[in-house]
Symmetry: C2
Subunit: 86 residues, 2 copies
């Protein structure tokens, strides 16, 4: 059995070190980590009283929201493509 | 000045109550919250030793990853649409 090469890196997010393992490039993984770090710092700056668990949950909430909005856009575009091809 | 109607709801995510405020429908906001809750529980089941802050950070990491993958798909589709229209 051939196992896909895995990338293993350590990243810093909001002052904590995380070991990430994945099949993506290390630059993709670093980009993801820095986006999460940026978002956590933005939320923290707007809500200085929140602890890091709540800041991380709100970061996840905002990102899931963005994900669903992007998915709607993708579905609309798929429809449009289908019409143009069909 | 007319202010856009805001939705204010309380949601439970991983055993904590959060007040959410937004211009989206309450069903969209509840969907987002339940997706975050599901993802946190999945990560927690696979990594029982992690505290909730780390679980939330990893949830945010996975979601940002999915977001970036979806964005790539969207960009490819935009290119395809441009060619078909062009």
């Amino acid at each position: 059995m051939i196992e896909e090469e895995k990338t293993r890196i350590a990243v810093d997010i909001y002052g904590q070190t995380y070991k990430m393992v994945g099949t993506e490039t290390s630059s993709h993984m670093r980009l993801v980590a820095s986006m999460v770090d940026d978002r956590m710092r933005e939320i923290s700056a707007r809500n200085p009283s929140l602890d890091s668990a709540k800041i991380a949950v709100l970061t996840a909430v905002n990102t899931v929201h963005d994900y669903l909005k992007l998915k709607e856009q993708l579905e609309q575009m798929e429809e449009e493509l289908k019409k143009l091809k069909g």
